[in-house]
């Protein structure tokens, strides 16, 4: 499909005159450009093109007419282009599915508006929205934490969290200044300034064991910036030590899920992957949870630790595995 934020030029050209018709007082060129997700320059070039179009005959009275007053533009003759083109099936699906997804969220203050908007949009989209919609989105709800966090965000109050940290397998307590809620890949995250580590952190709501809204106001310091999550919630750590892994075909998802420095295919469908992290406990748990589908190439010490852990665990089952020297056989 097309790039996000840009419309195909034809869709835009057919929508522009109706857009201006709906705004008889005129619109600033910059505002129209923003609405269509294009540059001012592109929008001007679209308007110039439309100015050359009109009814058959193409006499002076047949052509689309625009009037410019300073930075504002107004349409004075539409040549019959007064309404936008109907929604395509794809557009109707995108709209309807997005609104339905929003409706699924618990504790949503705007529920009533979402539900009436859905009804109106479905009617306007007509037959395109009639059919069984071929897309559905279902998110993991975590009702309680979500509504408390939303309450804190709306009232701009600090939050006190009991938060489970899987890499260290421990429960932590901390006070945070909430910034926003994110729904990334079906999971909810609270982005907040954590006063304990003095940094912006993402807290996965399914790891929040308890959350309370405090009376004190939320005050993220000026250096608290929202993270760009377009490439996932895990951030690469450029200066950190490299952990080199060989993952089997079944564990290839690791390369998609975590920010990796380099990826190279291996024979048999596996991958050689380099991750940079200062948190070796994280790497240790990740590799252990892959149950042998990933092998640590470097650092060698990490591989030895994981193997020793596993041998100790096997001892509890009465299974004895001796370390085999690498030159054996």
């Amino acid at each position: 499909m097309t790039q996000p934020g840009t419309t195909d030029r034809m869709t835009r050209l057919l929508a522009l005159i109706p857009y201006l018709t709906a705004r008889p007082q005129g619109v600033a060129v910059a505002e129209a450009a923003r609405d269509f997700g294009v540059t001012d320059r592109q929008l001007r070039s679209d308007l110039e093109l439309l100015w050359m179009c009109g009814l058959p005959g193409h006499g002076p009275g047949d052509l689309i007419d625009l009037s410019f007053e300073g930075e504002r533009v107004r349409v004075t003759f539409t040549a019959g282009m007064v309404r936008p083109l109907r929604m395509t099936t794809d557009e109707a699906v995108a709209l309807v599915v997005a609104l339905r997804t929003l409706l699924e969220l618990p504790g949503l203050a705007e529920r009533e508006a979402v539900s009436t908007a859905l009804a109106k949009v479905s009617t306007a989209a007509g037959h395109a929205a009639d059919r069984v919609t071929p897309v559905a989105v279902s998110v993991d709800a975590h009702e309680e934490a979500l509504s408390v966090v939303r309450d804190g965000l709306e009232r701009k109050r600090a939050l006190h969290l009991h938060y489970y940290v899987p890499t260290r397998d421990e429960r932590t307590e901390r006070t945070v200044d909430p910034m926003r809620l994110l729904l990334v890949d079906g999971k909810w995250y609270l982005e907040a300034w954590c006063r304990r580590v003095e940094g912006v952190r993402l807290f996965r709501l399914d790891r929040v064991d308890d959350v309370v809204v405090l009376e004190e106001p939320a005050a993220p310091p000026p250096q608290a910036h929202e993270r760009d999550v377009d490439n996932g919630v895990y951030q690469p750590e450029p200066g950190s030590p490299a952990v080199r892994l060989r993952v089997s075909r079944r564990a290839r998802w690791v390369a998609d899920y975590y920010p990796v420095d380099s990826v190279a295919p291996l024979e048999g469908g596996g991958l050689a992957v380099t991750v940079r992290t200062a948190d070796l406990a994280w790497a240790r748990r990740l590799v252990a949870s892959l149950g042998g589908e990933a092998v640590v190439v470097e650092p060698a010490g990490l591989a030895a630790e994981i193997a020793a852990d596993a041998r100790a665990a096997l001892g509890r089952y009465g299974v004895d595995v001796q370390p085999t020297p690498s030159d054996a056989g």
């Binding site: 421990e170 990334v184 665990a313």
Partner: protein, 325 residues
């Protein structure tokens, strides 16, 4: 698109919207600027035909309802027109809150699969006079995963109701197998994309993780080849499968360890060795075994034997790490 072609297409739409009569190709050629003029040569006729065919296809692909027919019985050839009622988006009025809800909802697709369609839907709503303020700051950012190359062909086949063929790699099988499916729809279920449909070889509804589709799915046969069940709830199909039969797993954990497991466990009291006995529930025993293996010597699986064996198998593989090439 070249400016000349865009201009010609806009003029064509305006011309066909402005008449109730069917307009012949020859008339269009004479009145819509930009077409190869009729100079009596066969070459010019051919050039016009090719250009006009391409333009019609382009408009239909955009969803312009281009009709073919004859105005009267005396007409000797088919003409074209666009019925205004079929072309125009019906009236829609949204309150400020409703418009904000639409703006917020469409952020779901930002940089995801249907970003293009979401954006053009928004453009059409704005052109219909709805003021959708996407910048209104609600501290809420929905977003879906963008990286699933199989989405587009699966979605298109489900939309058009065409049969679909693809190679599917199950993690417990060595090689991918070819599947033939009536695609009913695609579902993002808790962050993972699935295709739901009727498996034609097994004659039963099935779901497929899109990330396990190998290569590009191919749609075959005509559009409208089947009808999904009328009461179909896509998310429900996946929920029932993914959240299949629940299994009980009993483990022993050293006191003070395995916090992550305790969060969802039922404590069964201390065992003979002083460890805490815990009861866990899972619908995905293999994923639980992965998690249990990562707890190392802090825990021991008591039952069932299948989960115990799965954990031992994982630990055995891990135990050789660093010693085999």
């Amino acid at each position: 698109m070249a400016a000349k072609r865009a201009e010609r297409l806009v003029n064509l739409v305006i011309a066909l919207l402005s008449t109730r009569q069917y307009v012949t190709a020859a008339r269009i050629r004479a009145t819509v600027p930009g077409y190869e003029a009729d100079d009596g040569s066969e070459r010019a006729d051919e050039a016009f035909k090719r250009m006009f065919e391409r333009d019609k296809a382009e408009l239909r692909e955009m969803g312009v309802p281009l009709e073919t027919g004859r105005t009267s019985a005396f007409d000797t050839e088919d003409g074209y027109r666009i019925a205004r009622a079929d072309y125009e988006l019906p009236e829609i009025h949204l309150t400020g809150e409703e418009a904000a809800a639409v703006g917020l909802a469409l952020r779901l697709w930002e940089s995801a699969q249907m970003a293009g369609a979401a954006h053009s839907a928004l453009v059409k709503l704005k052109a219909a006079g709805v003021d959708v303020d996407t910048s209104r700051s609600i501290p809420l950012q929905p977003r879906l995963d963008a990286g699933e190359p199989a989405f587009e062909p699966c979605y298109a086949a489900a939309r058009d109701r065409r049969r679909l063929e693809f190679d599917y790699q199950r993690p417990d099988e060595d090689a991918p197998t070819r599947r033939h499916v009536q695609p009913w729809g695609v579902v993002a279920w808790h962050g993972r994309w699935y295709l739901v449909g009727l498996d034609l070889d097994r004659q039963a509804p099935r779901q497929y993780r899109l990330s396990r589709v190998v290569g590009t799915p191919k749609s075959t046969g005509p559009a409208g080849a089947f009808e999904p069940p009328a009461d179909l709830d896509l998310a429900d199909v996946v929920a029932r499968q993914v959240g299949g039969d629940e299994q009980l797993v009993v483990i022993r954990a050293r006191p003070g360890t395995a916090i992550g497991l305790r969060r969802h466990a039922v404590p069964l009291g201390p065992g003979d060795d002083g460890d805490d006995r815990l009861e866990l529930r899972t619908t995905e025993p293999s994923a639980l075994a992965d998690q249990l293996a990562a707890y190392g010597a802090d825990i021991v699986v008591e039952a069932p034997a299948a989960v115990r064996d799965a954990v031992i198998a994982r630990l055995t593989r891990l135990a050789t790490m660093g010693t085999t090439p």
